[in-house]
Structures are given as structure tokens and as C-alpha cells.
């Protein structure tokens, strides 16, 4: 929401050592089992010379650990701050349906199912960008007002679940005519006017993992938006390249459920993207089943089996299920099309990509960030220092407020709005466009008619004079 703060601000501004500092502390605490963080050895920011592959390094470390445990601890402590820069500090999800009209109910249900899943696994609404091009829940054709279902058993209302867990409502960021190719590209590359609301922006940084899920009607290397325009795989590839150049993501999981979906990621050329699609070239992506009371198909096959896996295998936010396991669950017999996966852009290739946890993309970062490098005493002292600084700040503010109040100007105590005011480009707030209406003269008097007749007469005589002179 608008006032929910800027999530991007919290994530990894000072690069190194958010989780890295926590890990040596476990060594300090005397954990007997040597701790080998899985990500540290495989991250793309790995400072180890490229000649020694990640596996090689792992092997060296393991042998060291076996032989010289104390040396290992020291070495780890020295290397870890560099190695663990590879972890992400925030999770974002962009969930896009691109189809309008009632008979495309299933595409909105697909997206809403994913929305529910990522929300269940801890990504807050402020970090989910949900694009719904049509209104299915409150559609007059919907027999179940305010509800969208993805299964004919209708056990789970995707739009506003009132069950035991509940969803806490729904927040749609882009809806109706706002779902356009332009807005989608702008969202990815974050090019917006100054007064654009924060809840509609993707405020990621180079430590954010992004899940992008798209569904709709598509073809060979294109995806239709609302039956009116289309995005090509090259547009998408270039947008991702811009994101990479602007350091707007750390790792990206791209999922697409449409006909010939696998062609949509063929043009990508940017690192750290894992892509997966529902169907190969010249293949359709089919719907799973229809609900007779809703009257249309309610979910697509590939999304259905994805969800089945996510619902049954990922039961907690600390789940260790890997993306490889998710991808292995795609069964062409069930899906009725050949799902595709592309690993080659990912640093570390297929093996690394497959070892990424599903919750690295579908869940939110759960780690508690403890600054343990200075030890318990050190961090306590730092905390005290921070508290003192905060107190000073509050005190200073209080003095300023009191001064202002004593100046007998009660309205002078104001939030600093004027300096913060966003500027609107002049052609938007242009003059003459917003003005008030003028009163229309309703005077139907003879004078007005006489004036009109006079003007007509004068012009006529002028014309006559002209033609006479011409002769």
C-alpha cells in the first residue's frame, strides 16, 4: 500500500554481510557440526578464480573440514563475507494475466492461484504486483459474486478466502485497461512519472529475487495483451536486459503458461534468469477442467500441476524443495504439452539452478539478520549507541517543535510537504484544460437578433461593394 514504506530501502543497501555475519556466529556458539552454507559455494559473485569450479572449491573445503576443523573455521570466517553476497534480501512477484473477457476466466484464476501461493509463503501484498485485465469476481456473469475458483470442487475462493487461514483481502495493482504492454515494460524497467504511486511500482534492487508469471493467449514468440496488442519475446528480453543493467534483480524466475510458451523465453540473453514454459513450439497449452456452474474452464493444465506441487510439497516457508524437483514434476502426459526449462543463462548452469530452493522465488526471505561480527557485547554496545543517536534525534526534533510552538504560529508546525511535493509535467496540468464553466447568456432579446441581422447586412453590402468595384 501507499504508506507501507519502501521495501526496497530495507533490502541489502550495504551489500556485504547480512547473512554472512550471522553464519560465523554459529561457529562462535560452538556448533559441533561444521556449517557449510549451500549458497556460498555456488553464488554468482563467487570470488574464487574461475579455473576452480564451484564443485572443486566445495571439495577442497570439505577435505579441509575433515582434516583441520579449526583451520576451516578460520578460513570460512575470512572467505564468507565475500562468498555470501550471493544471497538475496527481498522477494518480489509479478503476476500477469493478459486476457480480457469472461471466457478467459481460467487465466485470471491461474494468476490468482499463484497470488494466493506466494502470499501463503510470505510475500506481502506490497511486494506483489498483480495485473488483472478484467473483473471476474464481480462480473455479472459470475454465479458466485465476489469469488473466483480454480477447481470445480469450489473449496477455495481465490479472491477473498473467508476460511480459517484467510487471505486478508486482495489488492489488485493493475486492472482493466491499465494492463498494457507499455505499463508492463514500464513496470519492469521502472520508468514512471514522478507522482506514480509506490504500490504500483516494482521497487527491487540487485538483491531481489523476482518471480514473473504470465498467462494468456500467445503464439510463436508473442503473447497477446487483452486481444488488442502483443508483446514479443524480444521486447521481453530487452526489458530484462535493462533490468539487469539497472541492477533491478538478483535472480529471476520466469514462468509462462500460454500456447507455444517456450518460444517466449528463447530470445532472453541476460544472466541469472531461469525460465520455464508450459508448451513447446507448435503446441497448444490446454485448460484442465471446466466448472458447469461457473460455465467455463477454470484453470490451465500446466498451472494446475504446478500448483498441485506447490500446495502439496511446499508446506512451510522453510521448505528445502528445490526448483529441480518442481521441474521434474512436469509430466507431459498429464500436462498434454511439453513443458520447457531454460537454465543456460543462470550463473552456474543447470546444476546450480536446479538446486535453488522453490521458496527462494515463491516465498519471502525469512532470515533474521543478526549482526554478530562484533560478538554479543559489541552488538549490544552498538545497539545502545543507535538508541542514543535516536534519542538525540527525537530531542532535537522536540526542541524545534517547541520553538515553533512558542513562536505562536500554531500552523507553522507542519510536515515538510512542500519540499516533498512531486512535480507534474506542465503539459499534464496544462492551463485551460481544467477551467470552470462559463454562464451561457440566455438573452433571446430583439437587440441580439438585430445585431445578427445588422452584421449579415453589413457583410452582404461589403460583398456587393467589392463586386461593384471589380467591374
Amino acid at each position: 500500500m501507499f504508506a507501507s514504506g519502501l521495501p526496497g530501502e530495507f533490502s541489502g543497501v550495504n551489500g556485504v554481510g547480512i547473512s554472512s555475519t550471522a553464519k560465523p556466529k554459529r561457529e562462535d556458539l560452538g556448533l559441533t557440526k561444521p556449517y557449510v552454507p549451500p549458497l556460498t559455494l555456488t553464488g554468482y559473485d563467487n570470488p574464487v578464480p574461475t579455473s576452480a569450479g564451484p564443485k572443486h572449491v566445495a571439495y577442497i573445503f570439505k577435505s579441509l573440514a575433515m582434516k583441520f576443523t579449526t583451520l576451516y573455521a578460520l578460513l570460512l570466517a575470512a572467505v564468507l563475507p565475500y562468498l555470501t553476497t550471493a544471497t538475496h534480501t527481498s522477494n518480489w512477484a509479478v503476476l500477469v494475466s493478459t486476457s480480457r473477457f469472461w471466457f478467459n476466466y481460467r487465466h485470471l484464476a491461474n494468476v490468482l492461484s499463484l497470488y494466493r501461493t506466494v502470499k501463503r509463503l510470505g510475500i506481502p501484498d506490497s511486494q506483489i504486483i498483480l495485473m488483472l485485465p478484467d473483473d471476474m469476481a464481480c462480473n455479472p456473469r459470475n454465479t458466485f459474486p465476489g469469488s473466483v475458483f480454480n477447481d470445480k470442487s469450489r473449496g477455495l475462493d481465490l479472491y477473498d478466502d473467508q476460511g480459517e487461514e484467510g487471505m486478508g483481502g486482495i489488492e489488485v495493482d493493475y486492472r482493466g485497461y491499465e494492463v498494457t504492454v507499455e505499463n508492463f515494460i514500464r513496470l519492469l524497467t521502472d520508468r514512471w512519472p514522478a507522482d506514480y504511486p509506490r504500490s504500483k511500482r516494482l521497487m527491487t534492487d540487485d538483491r531481489s529475487n523476482i518471480l514473473i508469471y504470465m498467462t494468456g493467449h500467445g503464439g510463436n514468440e508473442f503473447l497477446k495483451f487483452q486481444d488488442a496488442e502483443e508483446i514479443s519475446s524480444f521486447d521481453l528480453a530487452d526489458a530484462f536486459e535493462q533490468m539487469w543493467e539497472k541492477k533491478r534483480y538478483h535472480e529471476l524466475l520466469f514462468m509462462i503458461d500460454t500456447c507455444q510458451a517456450n518460444t517466449m523465453y528463447s530470445a532472453f540473453y541476460t544472466p541469472n534468469i531461469i525460465s520455464t514454459g508450459s508448451s513447446a513450439i507448435h503446441q497448444s497449452s490446454y485448460s484442465h477442467h471446466a466448472d458447469q456452474d461457473v460455465g467455463v474452464a477454470v484453470i490451465d493444465r500446466w498451472t494446475y500441476y504446478n500448483l498441485e506441487f506447490l500446495e502439496t510439497q511446499i508446506t512451510s516457508t522453510s521448505s528445502n524443495v528445490t526448483l529441480g524437483q518442481l521441474f521434474d514434476s512436469y509430466d507431459p502426459v498429464k500436462v498434454h504439452s511439453d513443458a520447457g526449462i531454460r537454465y543456460d543463462l543462470f550463473e552456474g548452469g543447470e546444476a546450480t539452478a536446479r538446486n535453488r530452493k522453490v521458496v527462494d522465488f515463491f516465498g519471502n526471505v525469512q532470515a533474521v539478520e543478526v549482526d554478530g561480527e562484533k560478538g554479543q557485547e559489541g552488538s549490544l554496545a552498538e545497539w545502545r549507541k543507535d538508541l542514543e543517536a535516536l534519542n538525540n534525534l527525537i530531542e532535537r526534533q522536540r526542541v524545534v517543535m517547541n520553538e515553533l510552538r512558542n513562536d505562536s504560529k500554531p500552523l507553522a508546525v507542519k510536515a515538510d510537504n512542500d519540499n516533498a511535493e512531486a512535480t507534474v509535467s506542465p503539459e499534464k496540468g496544462g492551463k485551460g484544460l481544467f477551467g470552470g464553466a462559463k454562464m451561457v447568456d440566455q438573452d433571446y432579446s430583439w437587440a441580439k437578433k438585430a445585431l445578427g441581422a445588422g452584421a449579415l447586412l453589413a457583410l452582404g453590402s461589403l460583398w456587393g461593394l467589392g463586386s461593384w468595384m471589380d467591374r
Binding site: A137, F144, Y159, I170, Y196, A437, K438
Partner: protein, 603 residues
């Protein structure tokens, strides 16, 4: 003495604190004819001006407060509405129409700005910020959808602190906008009890958006007490809806209406075909249906919101005196009666439910007659032109009413003002000929601003005023059509302000303390304007066809121009000799040309 004064100042401080920010909520339930039920929710809280400026928010929602501060908005009115109020069956609108909006989203605000340009810029910032907060496309309210109404809207708040020339009223409407659960979610988040306790626990998207008519309103206004104490900023959140009792009581897992088993239907036995398998249902008019809050809303009220003050009743049910009503709760609660009203105070920690049984009563509630009935339709045919017809009826047999009729039309609908006609048809043929008192008009500019038409009319007693005007439909550019262009384009509802009787035009007087005293409002439905819409695949057909024609025409002419046609026997055969002869021939031709040309010049 010192101690006494200290205690006194403390009490004053405490009372002022209690006055400074408080929270009320109230639910009015009124069964309407045809098994309809009006449920009117109201949530009101406030904050002092100082606390607001220091950003000390208690009950006032911070997210909205910061937007208002940032955009210098002094008074805000935001509406999300769906459906049509059936004035013939349900009578006058609740709250005098002051908390009603036109279909879709409607927004108007008084913005503090030194110049028009500044006000416009702040207005655009406000619409953008609100679109983020309320999950609605309010960022589409641009200059083409914004007007500055002259006399339709009145300030509800006390703006004595702001110089009146710096206050700019801007109004925008989005009739196409759908209102759904994603708009209710942020609405509930603004409430102190967040829909978890108190009457707001009844607000469920499944019921609210199944209503025959519903409107959600957020109104922020400054209120200055008469005793000169500090001004307050008041936020008033309202949800009014009319539910069909029978429809709402269908089970949520199976809402499709199915015929009742014949045993459960009361048959009209006087029909000749009545039998064990044929049944004509008995006329049920006059029988009041049985219902309970839990059945209608799917859940009871979850206790009282602990932030409300206990003195005022929270739930008010308006039913005829003889109607049996039972309040149910595990805890004790207070109830009282005032004429037709049953007043309930909610229990603290237990669910509360109201149950009414089926009953036939002789007495019924009298419906309040609305001051004016209004309807609006399109006339004419064809893709090029059309007409607008608005019918305003004054049902009162004795008094004339003055109304202000406001229309904000999109730019692609261009009215001809000279065709504007207002005629009176009524019982008395001797009344004044022209009902139009004044006309305010601002013509549209293509793609830049819409038409603003504001009329002041007087409708004589027991008569009908018919407003007509003709308009032209613009042809849009190919890229300007929305994805569902064939659906038509929504035209915002007309807003009708009925001036209080006796009609006065003094807008300088103090704004009424409560909206019940002032003028009343009503809105027509939105209209769907069909525009000439191309077949969107046509350009491709045209491109393909013209390409083919050009390829054939150009190709054959080009061939005729550049190719030399010779007989097959004249063509030299392939091989080195042929090539040699050709090259030789070319060189000879070139030589002859240059040599010959030069000789000619010399001659």
C-alpha cells in the same frame, strides 16, 4: 489551590483528549418492499488539526492522512458505487443522497492552491496516490474527465481557516470502473477495527458485491466546533447497500436458484389446475420474510469494536411496531425501542445476531417520497449522431423544486448546445414556459477536455421537465479504442442537486452542520454510448488487399517497361560464344552512341 488547578487542567486535558479523537460506528437496517433490505453502515472518527499536522494519527488513517497533507486537500469525497437505486419501490435515498456516488468511481475534492495550475497538478497527484491506495484506476481521471462544478457541490466542512479563493473544487468520475473486493480491502484497512470486530465484521465482499445497489463512500472534512475550540478533521466512511433478502440467504456453496420442493410451496388452491403435482404459488405480498443477520450476511456481528464509545446505540433496526425481533448473544446487551426503531448496543466479546420470523402485518413502514424522480436515456439511431433525454419529475402536488443538473460528458460525445430544450408537461398548463434558470457550459476540446454542462432548473409542482439535446459522436483514432470497444463507452451519471425548500441561491451562508438539513442529491444511471467501431481486423485485410493489387499492377507495368520481348528463336543459346557476341554488341552500341552524338554536335 495549586493541586486543584492541576487537577482541573488535567481534567480539561483529558476531556479535550476524549473529544479530540473519538470513533463512532452505526448500522441502520431498514427492510424495504419486495424483500429488500437496506443496510447503512457508518464509521466516523476524527483527529484534531494540530495532531493531523504533526502527523499524530490515532483513529484517522495515516495512509490517507499523508496523501491529503501531501496534496493539500482540504475536503475529500470519494465514492465507489454499483447498481441502481429503485426510487419507485424504495423511496428516497438514504442520507439524502449525500453519501451516494455515480456508478463506478467518483471523486471530488477541495484543494488548497494559489493558482489553477497548482490545483490541477495537486489534483493529478491526488488521483494517482488514491489509485495506489484503493486499487482503482483513478489515475485515469485526467483533464478529459475533470471538471470544476459551479454550484452542484457544497462544502460540507468549515473552511474558515483557508482563504476561499485558494480553494479549488475539482470533480472526476470513472463510470466504467468496476467496484469489487480489491476496493473493499483498503476501505476496511482504514477502519480502526479493520473489519474484525463491530459492525464492520459484516462487510464481506461476497455479499456487498451481490447487492442490488451499493455505495462505499469516504468523506474527509474539517469541522470547527461552535464554541471556538480547536478544529477537527473528520473522516466519515459509509457503506450503504440494498440486499435482496431471499438471494442473500442462498447457501454460498450453491447460489444457483432452484425450484423448491412442492411441499414447501403454499399453493393457490383456487386455481382449477391445482393438484398434487401442479401448483400456482400463493400471493405472498404483505407477508414479511423471515431473516437473520447471520443468514443474510453469512456470519453474525463479532462483538463490539472496543474503540467505540458505549453511549450511542450501534445497531438500529427500523421495522413496524408489531414485528417480532429477537436479539441473540451469549453475553448481555442493551436494547430499547423508540417508535419504529429498535436500538441495540453490542455485547463486548460475544457474537450478536438479530432474528426476525415470517409474519404478516397490517401496518407497514411508510416510505419517504423522494423530492424528484430522474431518469436519463439516449435517443436517436445511427453511428453519427444521437440525442440525450433526461426526464425529471416533481411528485409534490403543491411545491415547485429547484434543481441543479450536472453533466460531465466525455470529449468524444459532442453536444450541440443550441439544441438544448427544456419543456414542461404537467397538470397546470399555465406555469412558466421555460424551466431553465441558468446554464453553465464549457465546451469540449478533442482529446483534451470533456464537456461540462450545468443547468439550474425549476420544476413546477406535479409536473415533469424533459431535457433534450442532440450530440455528435466523434470517430476515434485506431489506437484510441479500448480492447472491448464493441461494448460501448460509458457516460458518467448526471448528478442532480435538489435545492432545499424554499429555494435559495445563497451559497455564501454557512454550510449545514449535518447533511440532513441541506439540499438532497440524486444520480441517474450511467449510459453506454456505442461509437462507430471499426472491424479491427479490417486494416490488415486492407493492407493485404492493397499489397496484392499493387504487386500485380506495379509488377506487370514494370515488366512491360524494362523487359524486351523477343521470340524464342531469336535468343542466342547459352555458352561462351553467345556471351562474347553480346558483350561485343554492347561495346559497339556504346561506341556508336558516343561517336554519333559528338558528330551531331559538331554539325
Amino acid at each position: 489551590m495549586l493541586l486543584f488547578s492541576f487537577v482541573l487542567s488535567l481534567t480539561i486535558l483529558l476531556t479535550s483528549w476524549v473529544e479530540a479523537s473519538d470513533y463512532h460506528e452505526q448500522l441502520l437496517l431498514r427492510p424495504l418492499p419486495q424483500s429488500a433490505l437496506l443496510a447503512a453502515f457508518n464509521f466516523r472518527s476524527n483527529t484534531t488539526a494540530t495532531a493531523f499536522e504533526e502527523q499524530n494519527f490515532r483513529y484517522f488513517p495515516r495512509s490517507l492522512g499523508q496523501i491529503l497533507q501531501h496534496t493539500h486537500t482540504k475536503e475529500l469525497h470519494l465514492r465507489f458505487a454499483l447498481g441502481r437505486w429503485d426510487a419507485e419501490a424504495w423511496g428516497a435515498r438514504p442520507r439524502g443522497g449525500h453519501r451516494e456516488g455515480g456508478t463506478g468511481v467518483e471523486l471530488w475534492a477541495w484543494i488548497d492552491a494559489a493558482t489553477d495550475e497548482e490545483a490541477n497538478a495537486r489534483w493529478l497527484t491526488l488521483t494517482n496516490a488514491l489509485s495506489g491506495l484503493f486499487c482503482a484506476s483513478m489515475n485515469f481521471i485526467d483533464s478529459t474527465k475533470t471538471i470544476r462544478p459551479v454550484s452542484t457541490f457544497q462544502q460540507e466542512g468549515d473552511h474558515s481557516r483557508t482563504s476561499p479563493e485558494n480553494l479549488h473544487l475539482l470533480h472526476g468520475a470513472l463510470p466504467h470502473e468496476v467496484v469489487c473486493t480489491e476496493n473493499l480491502t483498503p476501505f476496511l484497512k482504514l477502519l480502526p477495527c479493520k473489519g474484525k470486530a463491530g459492525i464492520s465484521s459484516l462487510l464481506d465482499g461476497h455479499k456487498l458485491f451481490d447487492a442490488s445497489w451499493q455505495t462505499m463512500a469516504i468523506d474527509v472534512r474539517p469541522v470547527c466546533p461552535a464554541d471556538g475550540s480547536e478544529c477537527l478533521l473528520e473522516i466519515d466512511q459509509t457503506v450503504d447497500m440494498v440486499l435482496d433478502i431471499e438471494r442473500s440467504m442462498r447457501p454460498s456453496h450453491d447460489p444457483i436458484p432452484r425450484p423448491l420442493p412442492i411441499e414447501n410451496i403454499k399453493c393457490n388452491t383456487s386455481k382449477p389446475y391445482n393438484g398434487p403435482d401442479t401448483c400456482f404459488p400463493e400471493d405472498q405480498t404483505g407477508v414479511l420474510p423471515a431473516w437473520s443477520l447471520k443468514e443474510v450476511y453469512g456470519r453474525p456481528i463479532r462483538g463490539s469494536c472496543p474503540l467505540t464509545d458505549d453511549s450511542a446505540p450501534t445497531v438500529i433496526l427500523e421495522v413496524p411496531e408489531g414485528r417480532d425481533v429477537r436479539g441473540e448473544s451469549a453475553e448481555s446487551f442493551t436494547q430499547s425501542r423508540e417508535g419504529n426503531l429498535r436500538l441495540y448496543q453490542l455485547p463486548k466479546n460475544a457474537d450478536f445476531d438479530l432474528t426476525l420470523r415470517e409474519q404478516s402485518l397490517d401496518s407497514s413502514l411508510s416510505l419517504e417520497q423522494p423530492p424528484v424522480y430522474a431518469s436519463r436515456t439516449f435517443t436517436g439511431q445511427g453511428q453519427e449522431r444521437g440525442g440525450m433525454l433526461a426526464v425529471l419529475t416533481n411528485p409534490s402536488p403543491s411545491t415547485a423544486v429547484s434543481v441543479i443538473y450536472l453533466e460531465s460528458l466525455p470529449w468524444f460525445m459532442k453536444p450541440y448546445l443550441h439544441t438544448l430544450q427544456a419543456s414542461i408537461s404537467g397538470s397546470d398548463p399555465n406555469v412558466a414556459m421555460n424551466p431553465l434558470d441558468s446554464v453553465f457550459y464549457r465546451p469540449s476540446i478533442d482529446r483534451q477536455r470533456g464537456t461540462h454542462l450545468e443547468l439550474a432548473l425549476t420544476i413546477p409542482a406535479a409536473s415533469t421537465v424533459t431535457l433534450t439535446y442532440a450530440f455528435e459522436k466523434a470517430i476515434l483514432r485506431y489506437t484510441e479504442y479500448p480492447p472491448d470497444a464493441n461494448r460501448g463507452f460509458d457516460v458518467a451519471p448526471a448528478i442532480i442537486r435538489v435545492l432545499p425548500f424554499p429555494s435559495t441561491s445563497n451559497s455564501t451562508s454557512l454550510p449545514p452542520q449535518s447533511y440532513q438539513e441541506g439540499s438532497t442529491y440524486l444520480r441517474t444511471t450511467s449510459l453506454l454510448l456505442p461509437l462507430p467501431t471499426p472491424d479491427f481486423s479490417m486494416p490488415y485485410n486492407v493492407i493485404i488487399l492493397t499489397s496484392t493489387v499493387i504487386a500485380m499492377g506495379f509488377g506487370s507495368v514494370f515488366n512491360l517497361l524494362v523487359r524486351r520481348f523477343v521470340g524464342a528463336d531469336e535468343v542466342e543459346g547459352p555458352g561462351l560464344a553467345g556471351l562474347k557476341a553480346r558483350v561485343k554488341g554492347r561495346i559497339q552500341a556504346l561506341l556508336a552512341r558516343f561517336g554519333g552524338g559528338g558528330e551531331k554536335k559538331h554539325q
